[in-house]
C-alpha cells in the first residue's frame, strides 16, 4: 500500500495473539506537578514570591485507566495532543511511577520514545549506544554481542564514530530505532518514532518489527498517522484527556475517534493526523 506521496505505508501481518498477558494496567492514575516556565530559575521564583504567584501546575495525565494486553498484540494508541498517550507509555516503561493503581509488565521493555534520541550530543554514536544499553540494564558483554548488529542495521557508516551533534535527525532516528529493536525486547514501546527516516529505512524498520511480532513480542504504538495505526495494530485504544474512551478493532476505534474529532476521514488526515 502507498500513500499519495508514493511512499510505502508500513504494514504488519499478524499471527494469532497469545492468551498470555503481557501488560496489565489497573485503575491507573498519573498526576504530576510541573512548572509553567520552560526553564525555572531561582530569580523568577523570588520575583514570584514577591507577587504571591505560583508557577506549579498539576497535570492529571491519566485518570482511572485499566486494560490488559496479551503477548503478541500490537496495540495502537490514539488521541489528541496531551491526551496522555506518552505518559501511558512512560508509565508502562517504568519511567514515571503511578500515582494510584498498578502497572504489571511481563518481560523486558525497550522504549523508542519521541522525545529525542542520543542523549549526549558531544559523545559519539557508539558511546551513546553503549550508554543507552547500559542504562537500560544490559551488561557490557550483551552490548558487545549486539553492537555490530546495531551499527549495521542503522547503516550510518562512519558517522557512528562521530559526535552525535554532527548527525542529521534521520540518522539519529535510525540509530535509536536500531538500538531499541536490537535489545530483544519482549515489549517494544514506540512513540511517533517512525515518522523520521527515509522510505528505505522505513521498509527495513517495518520488516524488523514484523520479525519481533512473529517472535510474539508485544508492541505499543503511538502515531498521529492513523493509517499506520490501522495497518500495524491488532488492537487500538483511544485516550481523551487522560481517560480511556474506547478499545477495540483499530478500524472501528479510528472511525469513532475521527468522528468525535469532527474531521473528515480523508486520506491526508489518516496519514498525517
Amino acid at each position: 500500500m502507498e500513500d499519495e506521496m508514493g511512499e510505502p505505508i508500513p504494514q504488519i501481518a499478524h499471527r494469532s495473539v497469545s492468551n498470555e498477558v503481557a501488560i496489565t494496567v489497573a485503575d491507573l492514575d498519573v498526576t504530576y506537578r510541573t512548572t509553567i516556565e520552560k526553564r525555572p530559575t531561582l530569580k523568577q521564583a523570588i520575583v514570584r514570591l514577591g507577587r504571591g504567584k505560583r508557577s506549579v501546575r498539576t497535570v492529571e495525565a491519566l485518570k482511572d485507566v485499566s486494560f490488559q494486553v496479551n503477548r503478541g498484540t500490537v496495540l495502537g494508541i490514539i488521541g489528541h495532543n496531551g491526551a496522555g498517550k506518552s505518559t501511558l507509555m512512560r508509565t508502562v516503561a517504568g519511567i514515571v511511577p503511578p500515582t494510584r493503581g498498578k502497572v504489571e509488565v511481563v518481560g523486558r521493555t525497550s522504549t523508542l520514545l519521541s522525545l529525542g534520541v542520543g542523549f549526549n550530543r558531544q559523545l559519539t554514536g557508539r558511546e551513546n549506544v553503549i550508554l543507552g544499553g547500559l542504562a537500560a540494564g544490559l551488561t557490557k558483554d550483551e552490548l558487545e554481542d549486539r553492537y555490530d548488529r546495531i551499527a549495521e542495521f542503522a547503516d550510518i557508516g562512519d558517522f557512528i564514530e562521530m559526535p552525535m551533534r554532527s548527525y542529521s535527525s534521520g540518522m539519529a532516528a535510525r540509530l535509536a530505532f536500531s538500538v531499541a529493536v536490537h535489545l530483544d525486547p519482549d515489549i517494544l514501546l514506540i512513540d511517533e518514532a517512525l515518522s523520521t527516516g527515509d522510505a528505505v529505512f522505513k521498509e527495513k524498520a517495518t520488516e524488523r518489527m514484523q520479525q519481533l511480532v512473529d517472535n510474539s513480542s508485544t508492541m505499543l504504538l503511538i502515531s498521529h498517522a492513523l493509517r499506520t495505526i490501522i495497518n500495524m495494530s491488532t488492537e487500538c485504544i483511544w485516550l481523551d484527556h487522560g481517560k480511556l474512551m474506547m478499545r477495540g478493532n483499530p478500524e472501528e476505534v479510528v472511525d469513532a475517534y475521527t468522528e468525535y474529532m469532527h474531521v473528515k476521514k480523508t486520506s491526508a488526515v489518516l496519514n498525517d493526523m
Binding site: Y32, L42, R90, P97, E104, T111, I130
Partner: protein, 303 residues
C-alpha cells in the same frame, strides 16, 4: 523502581505508587549497583570528549592546579607581606586541590541530571547514577594534582634548603619542617570523608538544578566565598576565637583541616575535627541522596 520476579525466564515488573515519595529502597539500590557500569562508562566517555585522555589533556590536569597554587601563593604572600615557609605552601596546595575537587563535583553534579536529556526522559534507571558519574569524573581529574603535591613535598623534604635559626641562648629551630611521616597515611581516611561529602553534595546540587536552572550561575561565586571561609589560604589555628565559633557551621573547616594537617603538615588533628567531618560527610550524603531519590520521579516531567 520495580519489583522483579522470574516467571518462565521473563521478569515480571510491577510498578506501584511510591510510598512517601520514595521507591522501594532495597530494589532501588540493587538496580543502582547492577547498573554501575553505566556511571563508569559515562564518566569515561565524557572525559574522552573533554580530551582528557590525550597527552596534552592530561598535561593540563597537572599544570592547571599547579598554576593555580602559584597564583594563590603569591597572592597570600603579598597580602600578608611576609614570606611563608614551605610547609605553608604545601598546606595551600593540598587544601586547594581538595577544595577544587569538591567544587568540581558540585558544578558537574549540578549539570548531571539536566544534561541527561532524553536518557532521563526515555529510560527507566536509577538516576542517582548521573551525579555519581560526575563524582567519578571529578575524582579522576583530582588524582593528577596529587603528583604535583608529591613532587613539591619531595623537593622540600629531600633537596630543598633546611635552614636552622638559633637564638642568643643557643636554642635552635628548623625553619623547613617538611618531612615524610606515618601520620600522612591518615590523609587517606580524611580524603574518604571528603569524597563521601562530595557524593552527597553532587546529588543535592543535581536536584536543586532541576528546580532552579540558574543554580550553576550562582555556584562560582558561592564556591569562591566558601574557599575564603575555609582554612585553605590560612591555617585553621590562626583564626580568632569568635571566628572559630562560626566555623562550626562550615563543613569544610574540619574536613579540609584534617586533610591538610595530616597530609601537608604531618600532624594529627584533634579528635573533634574527625568527628565533625564524619558527621558533616555522612549527614550530607544521607540528606543529598534521599532528597534526590524523593524528587527523582519528577525529573522526567521537569526536564
Amino acid at each position: 523502581m520495580s519489583e522483579t520476579t522470574e516467571t518462565v525466564s521473563r521478569p515480571v515488573q510491577t510498578f506501584l505508587p511510591h510510598r512517601a515519595g520514595l521507591p522501594r529502597l532495597s530494589t532501588y539500590f540493587v538496580t543502582l549497583w547492577r547498573r554501575r557500569h553505566f556511571a563508569i562508562e559515562l564518566s569515561r566517555a565524557s572525559m574522552r570528549a573533554a580530551h582528557t585522555n590525550t597527552f596534552f589533556g592530561q598535561f593540563w590536569l597537572v599544570i592547571s592546579p599547579a598554576l593555580n597554587a602559584v597564583v594563590y601563593f603569591l597572592l597570600v604572600n603579598i597580602i600578608r607581606g611576609g614570606n611563608s615557609g614551605p610547609d605553608f605552601f604545601l598546606h595551600l596546595l593540598a587544601g586547594l586541590f581538595a577544595f577544587n575537587f569538591i567544587s568540581a563535583t558540585m558544578s558537574a553534579g549540578a549539570n548531571s541530571v539536566v544534561s541527561g536529556g532524553s536518557l532521563v526522559l526515555n529510560t527507566a534507571f536509577p538516576l542517582l547514577l548521573l551525579p555519581w558519574s560526575a563524582l567519578r569524573t571529578a575524582f579522576f581529574r583530582f588524582l593528577p594534582s596529587l603528583i604535583i603535591l608529591l613532587a613539591f613535598f619531595s623537593y622540600f623534604a629531600f633537596i630543598g634548603p633546611h635552614p636552622v635559626a638559633c637564638d642568643a641562648a643557643g636554642a635552635c629551630v628548623e625553619l623547613n619542617t617538611v618531612h615524610f611521616s606515618p601520620v600522612q597515611l591518615m590523609a587517606i581516611p580524611a580524603f574518604m570523608l571528603i569524597f563521601v561529602f562530595a557524593a552527597g553534595l553532587a546529588a543535592l546540587m543535581a536536584t536543586v538544578q532541576v528546580y532552579f536552572r540558574d543554580t550553576t550561575q550562582f555556584l562560582p561565586y558561592a564556591t569562591r566565598i566558601w574557599l575564603y571561609l575555609s582554612p585553605v589560604l590560612y591555617y585553621a589555628d590562626q583564626l580568632q576565637p569568635w571566628m572559630l565559633k562560626l566555623e562550626y557551621f562550615n563543613p569544610l573547616f574540619p574536613m579540609l583541616g584534617i586533610w591538610t594537617d595530616t597530609l601537608a603538615r604531618g600532624i594529627m588533628p584533634p579528635m573533634s575535627w574527625w568527628l565533625g567531618s564524619a558527621a558533616w560527610a555522612f549527614g550530607t550524603l544521607l540528606i543529598g541522596t534521599f532528597y534526590f531519590i524523593s524528587r527523582e520521579r519528577e525529573f522526567a516531567v521537569r526536564i
